[in-house]
Amino acid sequence: MEELQQPLPERLDLFTCIQCGKCTGGCPVSIKSPLNIRRVIRETVVREDLHGFFSRLEIWDCTTCSTCAIRCPRGLKPVDAIIGLREMMVEEGRIEKTIIDALDGAYKYGNPWGRAKNKRAEWAQDLDIQNALEMDPGQILYFVCCAASYDPRVQVVAKTLVTVLKAAGVSFGILGNKEVCCGSEIRRMGEVGLFEMLMEENMKNFGKIEPATIVTTSPHCMNALKNEYEGLGSEVLHYSQFVRRLMDEGKLAFETEVPMKVTYHDPCYLGKQNGVFDEPREILTSIPGIEFIEFGRCRENSLCCEGGGGRMWMEGTNQGKRLSEVRVEDALEMGVEAIITACPFCLLTLEDAVKTTGNEEKIKIIDLMELAVMGLGKTLETEG
């Protein structure tokens, strides 16, 4: 709270910005949105009163992919200036209705879609997964989070991950209806107080069972838990990291041929922000039959899908072509049958793009765990 009272430029050390423009140059939305991150930083430094920003909807165009932070020669995090401005808008209460709904949902129901708390673990009810709160300390906790709990499409990912973990003989549990949103998106929509509240709620449960490792469905949750949950003693891994480790430990091997030509889309929160580039690739190339080719823009240069930073609830001002559509069209040109990804938001936005570009017959969007289940010779859950 005190941190917030400090003016934005001081808090983020923005005075040291040399206005070189490398941030804007790499920003994936700058080509189609009025958002110019270099200029935003300049304005936050020179303006006495930042209220002028409040009516500028392009502040919500930022996907928080953090390309700007990777490129900044001064080691600044320009993206945090955007989040800082959003924090001020949230404090004033002047934010878009869809954002309010998401925040209210997370506050009341522990998920930004406002779905019932007691339906959070419905996806898992026939899967015989143990209640993590009854586990001994030092075990493995699967942190499912909201999209995988409620969105029927992403539920499939959670189910396939469970299939993979069971195939490897991993003993793990979930928090079920006691789990609440990790708060990653909430924080990026500028609601720090609510992020802290959700963090405290999850930390209370983590504290009870002190898991050795927490495995997440989403790179966004992994990032929040690993880098933003203060005092969390557990190791936090995205499922791709954990599954890769299971392969090393000889607990998992893919023996079923999956003849398919695929590419891989790097989720920003997994790749750019946490440097996890190799594990997903190693998993998918270890599946027999997979022919893997890289996107032209991959790894650190990967193109954001526009699903992060609250963009699931606020589409922003930009009316240009969706980057996810660009991604799908690039993939089609490469002649692949499927784009593999490892993030619920990427999965949803890319799949939408396949539909809006009318390419349902030509290309599929497959989550890495769905592919893994095929490689294990198991059937894919196709509910929803």
């Binding site: 209460g93 339906k119 609510l194 509240m197």
Partner: protein
């Protein structure tokens, strides 16, 4: 301009699987999430916008147990100045009429130029307390208000009528308005904002403080009573309408008529 806003704390039931309790006269609220009644949230925002343009004070009032402090605090964080909670075991079982009597007794002691309520509450959906309250106080009123303009001591309001029509009326202050959703865009109340007003005192008054006898309020002072709750018959998933095209559309027309689909 001194404004009083009457607000209610209601369970959110849209997502929940409701259970009727053993008395069969109420639902089991265990596990339900409570919040400010949606209409009242718009009323609070309307009051704040008026205060922002002409100054004055806002007092929010809610009838109910200590848990109601939650919605009162939220209104304080939004921009209200004072909060008052009316609570008494004798208030139990009050219908819209008795509720209006309780509120009437309370607002008499608070200076006011304008009283705002929501059009109706999400839970019982009476849509009657505001107008009954105005009648008891002898105030001019307007229900279903979707726009408010203030000019000195005169209000010009729009009322929402059926079929996309609006009615324009003028009212002289002091007056009461029941506020329709959509009149404004209620601001967000951040967690930090609520924390900031956590220690602000909330006044509490009971039947005695308001000069109300036990017979005048609660079930005894009410004109109507819930005898029994029951679930309307609904199927799981969609009822698929079969038949010839004529039969299908005939069935649809019937459903549309019954469910208010022909406006």
């Amino acid at each position: 301009m001194d404004i009083i806003v009457c607000i209610k704390r209601v369970p959110e039931t849209a997502e929940a699987d409701l259970v009727i309790d053993a008395s069969k006269k109420a639902i089991d609220t265990d596990g339900l999430v409570f919040s400010i009644n949606e209409w009242d949230n718009y009323a609070v925002e309307a009051a704040i916008q008026l205060k922002e343009s002409v100054g004055g004070t806002i007092t929010v009032i809610s009838v109910g147990p200590e848990e109601n402090n939650e919605v009162l605090r939220r209104a304080l964080a939004m921009g209200a100045d004072e909060a008052l909670r009316l609570t008494d075991p004798a208030f139990e079982g009050s219908d819209a009429y008795a509720m209006a009597k309780i509120l009437a007794a309370a607002v008499k002691d608070i200076p006011h130029d304008l009283i705002l309520t929501g059009v109706q509450a999400d839970d019982d959906g009476f849509g009657a307390v505001g107008v009954a309250l105005a009648q008891m106080l002898g105030l001019p009123y307007a229900a279903l208000v979707t726009d408010i303009q203030l000019d000195g001591e005169t209000l010009t309001v729009h009322r929402e009528l059926e079929g996309g029509l609006e009615e324009v009326d003028t009212l002289k202050l002091p007056a009461l308005l029941t506020i329709q959703t959509g009149i404004n865009e209620p601001r967000y109340v951040s967690i930090m904002g609520i924390r900031r007003v956590a220690r602000k005192e909330i006044g509490v008054k009971g039947a005695g403080d308001l000069g109300l006898s036990e017979e005048a309020v609660g079930a005894k002072g009410s004109l109507s009573r819930i005898e029994e709750l029951f679930f309307p018959p609904v199927g799981e998933g969609a009822e698929i309408i079969e038949g010839t095209m004529d039969e299908k559309t005939e069935a649809l027309v019937k459903i549309l008529k019954e469910r208010g689909g022909i406006a």
